[in-house]
Amino acid sequence: MTRRERAILFQVALYVALAAGIVALALVADWPTIRENFWNKGGVDWADGNWGDLITIGMVNTVKYTAIAFAGGLALGLVLALMRLSPVAPYRWLATIYIEFFRGLPALVVMIFMSTGLPIAFGWTPPGGTVGAGLIGLIMVAGAYMAETLRAGIQAVPKGQAEAARSLGMRPGTTTVRVVLPQAFRIVIPPLTNEFVLLIKDTALLFLLGAAANERELTSVAKDFLASGPSAGTATSLVQAALLYLIITLPLTQLVAWLERRQRRSVR
């Protein structure tokens, strides 16, 4: 047998194994049971079932909370990143301590601390109730991560850019805002979007803090439908929630790919 024949035979074997696996799964799996548990219509048309609350309450709040956490985290991260690159040493130390501290903690611990720990310790509740406190915790952690991303982006802008701006007489602040940051942001669009997708999923942690019925995010709504509603007693609502999460996240990754292509066209 020649090498080429062996290679072909190996490929054929791979396809046969795949086909055998699919056939076995189709024969062995109990499709009615699977359908009953993962895609249960609850006896009524599915459009009238879980989707209403899942979308108008859960998905809307998830998007809203993610946007708030991302905007807050980005603002905090930018301040921290500029502090880390500051010529003033104490600013660098403060930023480094903050970043190392909050990157080392689970987001959930910070969120519970903000919503429950602070009221117990100081008798003070952050604004916005439980959800607001949880979001502040999320912002505190996200800011630490985004600071490192932004710092890397700022440092990736060639030194000659700032030198050119300064040689024209531009002030340090103007140089940062008009020359360095616009280029740094382009560099960090992909990692920042990754950060955004992670935040979408981290908003599910708010479920553990509890929220009023109309403040629930997607995971909380789905979890509540496990015990009540038309598909109660089945995993259907979780499957639906998973689909809705993908509807948010998949276009986002496509958007990043498009932005990167456009960026390659206009900048080098």
């Binding site: 060639p158 000659g160 850019q161 050119a164 040689s167 024209l168 007489g169 531009m170 002030r171 900048v267």
Partner: protein, 255 residues
């Protein structure tokens, strides 16, 4: 009432650039070992020398992109290391052209030329655009005003960067090996623009390897090696009849 002081016209009294006893070290590495150097207003001074001789560092000290370790730098008679001097204001009067162009890649050509005019000079948008178009015409790239730097050749990018510096109406121009990063066939366009500038009376300090340009356009040639000025004089004299052994050795390699 006191009589208004009679100020000399800028450049008539003090040299445009006057460097005295300049030292610069990076850590333990001493790059400039006591440089005395000057450029008179309206002069074109070319600085040549082997790589590592400190010529680019000298040029970058002139607008304090590098911080001098010791010595004095006077720009039109003003000590730019004086704390009271507004360094940004001084820099805005000194145009600088880099080996790697350093155009702003996120802005198109016109915005590259107007950004500093607006933020530093405080010019109105219309005025800045008008001046930008003038200088762009001067370097022969009027049709490229809405292009992004990435879409220009190296030679075009360098001419835009010259136009960017000129848009600030500088009193003098610093060139840091402006043609070293260019393909050979693009060098001529950039040198032609620099030649035009020189003929208009622009004060220029040019760190270069282009001996032809130095001979033809320069009023003075400075040869540096090992962090000191080894020899200086009229370009034709230095190039055809170098006095110093190190100058002779260098020129025999590059000519």
């Amino acid at each position: 009432m006191t009589a208004a002081p009679v100020l000399p016209e800028r450049g008539t009294m003090a040299p445009a650039i006057q460097v005295t006893g300049l030292h610069k070290h990076f850590g333990r590495n001493e790059v400039l070992k006591g440089i005395d150097f000057h450029v008179d207003a309206g002069q074109v001074v070319c600085v040549i020398g082997p790589s590592g001789s400190g010529k680019s560092t000298l040029l970058r000290c002139v607008n304090r992109l590098e911080e001098p370790s010791a010595g004095q730098i006077l720009i039109e008679g003003v000590d730019i290391c004086d704390r009271k001097v507004d360094l940004d204001e001084v820099r805005s009067r000194i145009g600088m052209v880099f080996q790697q162009f350093n155009l702003f890649p996120h802005l198109n050509v016109l915005k590259n030329l107007t950004l500093a005019q607006r933020t530093v000079r405080g010019r109105s948008k219309d005025e800045a655009v008008q001046i930008a178009r003038q200088t762009l015409g001067k370097v022969g790239l009027s049709e490229k005003e809405s292009a992004y730097p990435a879409h220009l050749s190296g030679g075009q990018q360098q001419r835009v960067s010259i136009a960017r510096a000129l848009s600030m109406n500088p009193d003098m121009m610093l060139f840091d090996e402006p043609t070293s990063a260019l393909d050979p066939e693009l060098v001529g366009d950039v040198l032609a623009v620099m030649k035009d500038l020189a003929s208009e009376g622009m004060t220029m300090m040019v760190v270069t390897h282009e001996m032809g340009f130095a001979r033809e356009v320069g009023n003075k040639l400075v040869f540096m090696d090992g962090g000191v000025v080894v020899e200086e004089g009229l370009p034709t004299d230095v190039l055809s009849n170098p006095q110093h052994e190190r100058t002779q050795a260098f020129l025999s390699k590059v000519l």
